[in-house]
């Protein structure tokens, strides 16, 4: 599926003279990708540029061949969805189903299809029994799931998650991991901006490190987390299990606890 994003020599500044993004060139393929970096490195600005909410000062972004400067953000939203951090910033309907149908109606304008998509999305997040509820009568965690469903219902080929695991407990994180895996399985391009390195290591195939408005590292997640020094310079820590492997003198870069455990068990079998 050709769901590529091509970014060419992108420059952007909010205020003249203070460049936030300084010459970003990236091609996104089908791999699920995490964008990591300190606050202020330009990640959120980049996501907004991808979404067409901001336009490049110079350089270009093409979403499936469409240049973002030639269309509105609303126009791009049938191809690329962005799930914002705070669900309270978008929920305005008085029942869950209407809320989730808002997006698809905006881009589809056909009620039956919009309803089907909304129902499907709500099922994915486990809220199929709360259709008639007022979103503000539900918990914050449930509202986050509504926000996710609202974008999933738009059935875009590209989905960007902005900090999906903030304030989530263990179960919430596992559910989001499951949703991301399902979306990848459906052939969608999933991007995220995140600070949770453990989650990134466990879930995303490719990782891009932003530092001071530029791409500092770009590669498979394993490759990127091997570069301890560069990550430190970008102000980032590695996943806990990676650090454990390093401290034990292992040359292998571990991404998940399971990997480490099977590796260690093999070592045992070889007789310690």
């Amino acid at each position: 599926m050709n769901s590529s994003i091509v970014v060419e020599d992108l420059y952007f500044a909010y205020n003249k003279g203070e460049e936030v993004l300084k010459g970003i060139s990236l091609v996104f393929d089908e791999r699920s990708t995490a964008i990591i970096g300190q606050n202020g490195a330009g990640k959120t600005t980049f996501a907004k540029l991808l979404k067409g909410l901001l336009k490049p000062d110079s350089g270009s972004i093409s979403i499936k061949g469409i240049d973002t400067r030639n269309t509105t953000a609303a126009g791009l939203s049938r191809h690329i969805g962005l799930i914002f951090q705070n669900p309270n910033d978008q929920i305005f309907k008085s029942n869950v189903l209407d809320e989730v149908m808002f997006g698809p109606l905006n881009i589809m304008k056909e009620e039956k299809r919009a309803r089907d998509l909304a129902l499907g999305a709500l099922e994915k997040v486990g809220l199929e029994n709360e259709l008639e509820q007022n979103p503000y009568d539900l918990t914050l965690s449930q509202r986050k799931l509504i926000a996710i469903a609202s974008v999933l219902a738009m059935d875009t080929e590209i989905v960007i998650f902005d900090e999906p695991t903030i304030a989530q407990d263990h179960r919430g994180k596992e559910m989001i991991k499951g949703i991301i895996r399902e979306l990848v399985g459906m052939g969608k391009l999933v991007l995220t901006i995140m600070h949770d390195m453990d989650f990134v290591a466990e879930t995303f195939e490719r990782t891009i490190v932003f530092s001071q408005g530029q791409v500092a590292l770009d590669g498979s997640t394993r490759e990127v987390f091997t570069r301890e020094q560069l990550l430190k310079e970008a102000g980032l820590e590695r996943p806990h299990v990676t650090r454990l492997g390093a401290k034990l003198g292992c040359s292998h870069t571990f991404l998940t606890a399971e990997e480490f455990v099977s590796f260690a068990k093999k070592c045992d079998h070889r007789g310690r």
Partner: protein, 255 residues
Amino acid sequence: METLSLYVDRDSPVHRVDPISKLLYILAATAIPIILPSLLTAAVVLAISVALLLLGRIFRRVIPLISVIVFVLLTILIIQGLFRAGNVTPLFQLGSLIFYREGLLYAVRISLRVINIMLAFAILILTTKPSDLFETLVRKGLSPRIGYVLSSVLQIIPQMQNTVGTITDAQRSRGMETEGSLAVRLRAFIPLIGPVVMSSLTQTRERSIALEVRGFSAKGKKSFLNEEIQEPYHRFIRWGLLLSIILALVWRVAA
């Protein structure tokens, strides 16, 4: 815009005067021309205000602020000069339009009063830091809660603009069009109102909790970090202003 304020940060004799004196000046500049309604009084007060503005080095800043009112007053001047009932004495002629003395005088009187009030307010607003003004009022007895609301509103409203921006972005991301015809742009308001209101309410609530745990509701007298600047001449100015109002009243009654 970090704070909603027109304060011009400079050091001048006018800046150094305390806020209460400037409030009393507004009172005097408004009341005296009413008590003694001669054109001379109004003109004198105007001259004093202009002098103060020049002294405070803010005269040029005032011009854009009062330009709208001046335009309106000019319109009144023309209309009253031409058409006021009771216009009998022609003063001058422009083409076929005759301007009468009575109407013009009436309009000039009103204009001077309005401009005097505006200039007096400008002196206060352009040379006083809002935080100093509110702190002085609280020292004099204004409820600290009201003082807080006044002070915080000036900073929080600009901050709210960020929130509105984020909410707009979130809805645009879901396909809501904001660019285009007027109808399109009006319809874009509806998905914004709910979240903006909710988010203001949520933030206000969280903030009031933060205030509570910092003792905001403590009974007992509050103190102030800033030292109160009490120059002796401030009292002189304040009494002087009050005295001038009283003198004006006396003059009026006696005459």
